[in-house]
Each structure stands twice: as structure tokens, then as C-alpha cells.
Amino acid sequence: MTVEEMEPTMQCPKCRAPMHTYNRNGVQIEQCSGCRGIFLDYGELESLTRLESQWSQQAPPVAPAPPQAYPPQAAPAWGHHGHHGHHGHRSFGRMLFSS
């Protein structure tokens, strides 16, 4: 895997250290220079998982430490993990416009 370091673009939501963007096999990820936490945008975890499964089919699996992934957007502890998608859209559409 080639790691290409780029300019720091954002601040780590956990420890506030600058985050650096890396390109891993075509997937852009942000890693914190302080706590080494990784920020994944929407769909990037799936891309990495797909790459990992391709790689493990070719070689005996090594057990890497699982990366600590941050949600794409900071959310409160009581938040729902994930988007309900199109469920209840009609009712939510009304909610968008009413007190």
C-alpha cells in the first residue's frame, strides 16, 4: 500500500490535532496526527472493506488493528446510528414544514 501524505485540511474532532489526508488504494482517508484516529467519509469504510476482502483472498490474512473510524458527521450519544433512508418519508416530508 502506498501512503501519500498531503496538506493538513481538518482538525481531529476528538483531540483537535491536525488531520492529514492519505490516499490508500484510491480511497481518501483522514488520519489524526495526534491520536491516529481515522475519519472516513460516506462509503469509504465499504470501499476499504471491499479492498481488504480482495487482498485477503490473495494472501493469508494478517490481523491488523481495526482502525478507529469516526462517523462522517459528529452526532450526539442519543443519536440514531445511520439514516432511516426512505422509511417514513411522507411523514418526515410533512415534519420538515410544520411546527
Binding site: 450526539p76 450519544a77 439514516h83 432511516h84 417514513g88 418526515f92 416530508g93
Partner: protein, 328 residues
């Protein structure tokens, strides 16, 4: 048409420049745009008349209408039209006990196409509104009424017969976990920004219609308060999983890019958003339960998502510390 909507239609038809004598455009027929106890709105031609809620504090409402007309809010709030002739001083005409105001008619966000909603424009308008310090106005602005609306929604749920006890207690527990100021039981934690107080996508119009710039409407809850309250409805929708995270990111990003003061410019916005977003989740769940009970049906998926979020709030007892007051 209810009697109050009928009276508004009559008022509009008898304004100078309205009705059959009007030459510029077809006068059309009066259209009821909203008819609820907290606001009845009727449109005719290019004008709109609103009967505000009966219990409105007339002084506070007058102050809010004066604020909407003030040049500090030009390009942010839709300004009311002048008082109709023979009206008492101020821009209100008492009509069956409800104060009335007149407005130019704008073009609302299409409810049929929420994906085309102007999230960025909304965020920029809020950032500009929040930049106004209440002390800049030549008259004192009453408090923003967001917490008051949340408390009223909980009261409405309590008064509604037939609400499922498990859902009701989830909402009650989440409500009891909120600080007193968010429940309208203590002065606000912050009052250094002008806030809309009841922000949602129905609170925007393009004026002049069609194609004019977006402006905020409905100043009934406007006042001095914590600007995070105005972001709390979309924040609550995002946290409950109803709003697409990308839409939330667009809205929050546009607000920050416009210099909005409600949240830190970078990093986690939730220290400021958490309490107002919990309050709006409780408010929306309480209204949903009252509505579902009135219609003798079970809460639908979106309503259920709000109730479940209330359940998770009482499980998550670790409220973040209240952020420090922003410097005035």
C-alpha cells in the same frame, strides 16, 4: 373556511387596491394558507393577512412586528405591510379578539420537493439573523419562545387522551432530563442573539415572488435567546436518523461558512446543539403522539424514530457540560 379565516378574507377584499376595482391583476379568490389556533393565514392576490394566536401578548407581538420592519433585518426577515387604513396605531387590527398583521405574499418552499429545499440559503439567513445583537434595536426584544413552544407541546401530549403509556413515559423522561431553561422554567442560558424561535422549511418565502431572494417569515416566536435553538430542528432530524447526513452537513457547513455564531467554527458542534436538539426531539415526539392519538392511529415510522430517540436520551445520562456563555 373558519370564521376567523372568513374575516381575514373580508379584510383583504376591502383593502384599498384589492377586490373587483383593482386594475393591475386579477384579484382571484382568498386562499387559506394556514388555519390553526396559533395562527390563521389567508392570502389574496399579492397580500397575506395573519390572525395571530388569541393568547399573544399584544406588546410582545407588536415588538416582534416592529423588529420585522426594522432595517437591521432587511434581506433577512420579510417586512410587514403598513397598517390598514382606519386601524389603531401599530400594525394590528383587533379582529374577534385576535391581533392581525398584513404581509406581502411570498413564494414558499414546495412541500412536494423537499430535496430541492434551500438548506444553504436557510443557513445563511440564520447566520445573518444571529449576527444581530438584540441591543442594537432601539426597543427591547422579548425572549425567543422556543422553550415555551417545547413546553406547550409536552402539555398538549399530556392532555391528549389515548397516548400509549410507554411512548408517553419515554417522552416525559427525556423532557425531565433537560435543564430548566430549555423547559421554559428558568431564564434562557444565553440571550445575546436574535433568534427565529420556530425554524423549519415552512418559515421561508421567496419575495418578491416568483424568483426573489429567500426571506424568513413568522416572527411570532422571534426574540433574544440561544441561536443554537434555530439549528436544533434539523439537528434533531439528523440525530434521529430522519435527515440525510449529507443534507445536515450541507446545512451546518453553510451556516459555519457564513460565520454563524451558534456553534464553534470548527470541530464538534454538539456541545452547543445537544440541549436544544433534545428539546426539539421531545417537542416533535410530543406533538406526534398527540396527533396520532387524535387520529386514533399508531405513530408512523418517522414519529416512532422520534420516540425512540427520546428513549435513548434517558438511557444516555451523560449530558455534556453546558458550554460557557459566549462573550457579548
Amino acid at each position: 373556511m373558519t370564521s376567523i379565516a372568513g374575516e381575514l378574507a373580508v379584510l383583504l377584499e376591502h383593502l384599498p387596491g384589492s377586490g373587483p376595482t383593482r386594475s393591475s391583476a386579477a384579484p382571484g379568490t382568498p386562499v387559506v394558507l394556514a388555519d390553526r389556533p396559533d395562527g390563521t393565514v389567508v392570502g389574496l392576490g399579492d397580500r397575506v393577512a395573519k390572525a395571530h394566536e388569541a393568547a399573544s401578548d399584544p406588546y410582545a407581538l407588536d415588538t416582534r412586528l416592529r423588529a420585522a420592519a426594522h432595517p437591521l433585518f432587511a434581506g433577512i426577515l420579510l417586512a410587514p405591510l403598513d397598517a390598514p387604513p382606519r386601524a389603531p396605531a401599530g400594525s394590528r387590527v383587533p379582529l374577534t379578539g385576535r391581533p392581525v398583521s398584513l404581509w406581502p405574499r411570498g413564494e414558499p418552499v414546495s412541500p412536494d420537493d423537499p430535496d430541492a429545499a434551500p438548506w444553504e440559503a436557510t443557513a445563511r439567513l440564520l447566520a445573518r439573523l444571529h449576527a444581530v445583537r438584540p441591543g442594537k434595536l432601539p426597543f427591547p426584544l422579548p425572549p425567543m419562545r422556543g422553550p415555551h413552544k417545547a413546553a406547550r407541546a409536552v402539555d398538549r401530549m399530556r392532555a391528549a387522551p389515548g397516548v400509549r403509556p410507554s411512548a408517553r413515559s419515554a417522552v416525559e423522561r427525556a423532557w425531565s432530563g433537560l435543564p430548566h431553561w430549555a423547559r421554559d422554567e428558568a431564564p434562557p442560558r444565553c440571550r445575546d442573539a436574535v433568534c427565529h424561535g420556530d425554524m423549519h422549511l415552512g418559515q421561508l418565502v421567496r419575495h418578491p415572488a416568483p424568483g426573489g431572494p429567500w426571506l424568513l417569515i413568522d416572527v411570532d416566536d422571534l426574540g433574544a435567546g440561544d441561536p443554537a435553538w434555530d439549528l436544533a430542528r434539523p439537528a434533531a432530524w439528523f440525530a434521529t436518523g430522519l435527515l440525510d447526513p449529507h443534507v445536515w452537513a450541507r446545512f451546518l457547513g453553510a451556516y459555519r461558512a457564513a460565520g454563524g455564531r451558534a456553534v464553534a467554527a470548527e470541530g464538534d458542534p454538539w456541545p452547543q446543539l445537544d440541549v436544544p436538539a433534545r428539546a426539539l426531539t421531545v417537542q416533535s415526539a410530543a406533538v406526534a403522539l398527540a396527533k396520532a392519538a387524535a387520529e386514533a392511529r399508531e405513530p408512523d415510522d418517522a414519529e416512532q424514530a422520534l420516540i425512540e430517540a427520546c428513549s435513548r436520551m434517558s438511557a444516555d445520562v451523560n449530558l455534556p457540560p453546558e458550554p460557557a456563555h459566549r462573550a457579548p
